[in-house]
Symmetry: C2
Subunit: 294 residues, 2 copies
């Protein structure tokens, strides 16, 4: 067998090594992954020292991860993969309708422990330098346009220094700028939060090394994270971006979509807030979908 034939043969050998007890989905996913991984190596004639650098890099990703830092998630984000996977699920779910609120990536900062709050509460519980904003709107049914009472609007955001609570324990109390709100009988929610601030991914660790090697910036546009759910609807995880942010066209994790860019307006007659953000959310009934994405 010639050397060129050997190069082609290895891929099939790997796929053929999968035993009969592997699940059909595992076989499908891993066969495709191995073929693309090998095609990549052949396409660029991957050299031995480059492969070694890749192995070292992969090990460094796990080694940089801690309970409050998910470097694998961050690497996946800067390569656009979480954004792509989010979009793939949305296409499956929404092909016939295409009007539910667009999803965006979850990111590594969501917490399952955000406190339940009352409408009108302020989630900024620690000092900050930001502008306070009232965020409010209706959650409605895609098919009937009717209000959805008792939907849960789970919001989280970085503080005005660009850091989330658990990245910034010196300045922020746990669960600062996190909260879960129930929509009322009219499907309405409202709360006080901050106009968000653009921030940089950390300037250390493997993801930052890769950004530097690719001559890329590390900025995310300012954003508010949302996860909106109700037992009878497909949950939506998304982010909202102020329309005056300079990074909305070059988000380093590729998570901005046109319908998620929002306008903050001056708030009148409210001593507690300078700004107002009106955002309505449209959910797709669960029975309307092939699959949900969570």
């Amino acid at each position: 067998m010639s050397a060129s034939e050997e190069v082609q043969k290895i891929t099939q050998q790997v796929v053929d090594s999968f035993g009969p007890l592997t699940t059909p989905r595992m076989r499908e996913v891993m066969s495709s992954l191995v073929r693309h991984l090998h095609d990549f190596a052949r396409e660029v004639s991957l050299q031995y020292d480059e492969w070694e650098a890749g192995v070292r890099y992969m090990n460094s990703v796990g080694q940089a991860s801690t309970p409050t830092r998910n470097e694998g998630h961050r690497l996946s984000n800067i390569l656009g993969l979480e954004s792509l996977v989010t979009q793939i699920s949305y296409v499956v779910a929404a092909d016939s309708t295409q009007q539910a609120t667009s999803p965006s990536i979850l990111g590594p900062f969501w917490s399952p422990y955000a406190p339940y709050c009352e409408n009108g509460d302020n989630i900024a519980r620690s000092p900050h330098q930001g502008q306070t904003c009232v965020m409010h709107g209706h959650v409605t049914d895609l098919r009937t346009n009717r209000a959805i009472p008792n939907a849960i609007v789970d919001i989280w955001q970085a503080s005005s220094n660009g850091k989330y609570d658990f990245q910034d324990t010196e300045n922020q109390e746990p669960m600062n700028l996190r909260g879960k709100f129930h929509t009322n009988q009219h499907g309405y929610y409202y709360f006080y939060c901050l106009k968000p601030t653009a921030y940089s991914l950390p300037h250390d660790g493997p993801a930052w090394e890769l950004l530097q090697a690719l001559d890329r910036h590390s900025m995310r546009p300012a954003h508010i994270h949302l996860m909106v759910s109700h037992p009878e609807y497909v949950p939506v995880i998304t982010q909202l971006y102020p329309d005056d942010d300079p990074y909305i066209y070059s988000d380093t994790v590729f998570a901005v979509k046109d319908d998620l860019v929002v306008n903050f307006t001056p708030r009148e007659n409210d001593p507690k807030a300078e700004l107002d953000l009106h955002f309505d959310i449209v959910l797709e009934p669960a029975s309307n979908t092939i699959s949900s994405f969570l």
Copy 2:
């Protein structure tokens, strides 16, 4: 923009984010990697929970790595990638000749600290249950067929319990079953070693998890590692496999090639060894190549 268009657009956005200061090779490699990664996700309609499992898995690989355990290297091996990269380099180097000794993977157990030895030395310095073997042969020039004096033959192997020295510090002294030999004026080398023993990759950690999920065995055929070098030649890293090993057709790291399968014969009139292994090595002059692989 429709949801389907968004899915296609993200890949181009990622590639377009690479800045002008990234090197041409980095741009080439990472553009190809991103395209294949995204094509993979689209091809299998990668679901959010599957992507999350992949991120957790990637982090676990680095976290399982230690100074004596390179889990990223092992994962790469069981997916056939080191074997493929070795073969890609060989095609580049040998397209016009195809007669130099075939390379195989380096694996994670080579040490730069193997001691220099004299021809005739025995590299088994700690107790073992194996069969002692004389390994010997000539190192010659691919183009002229002439002997190459002063080539370095660097050998390493697991002991009869399937473990390398630094995996087995209770039973093996450091540098057991490792040594570097110089060929003599006739290009000849010889030393005492063990007929190698088949062994399993470890039954813990991320690589083993993946082997189980793919219903694969974890066995490598018995092998002797070789790295043969000389300043004027392309070095060859390779492995030799006894022809009576049951795993030569199903090596879990895909590293066996036909010309690397060897026959151990009975050794006559040598009280120090039961077996004999004759293996000649052919090196390609360095000037004859487009690139070396180390």
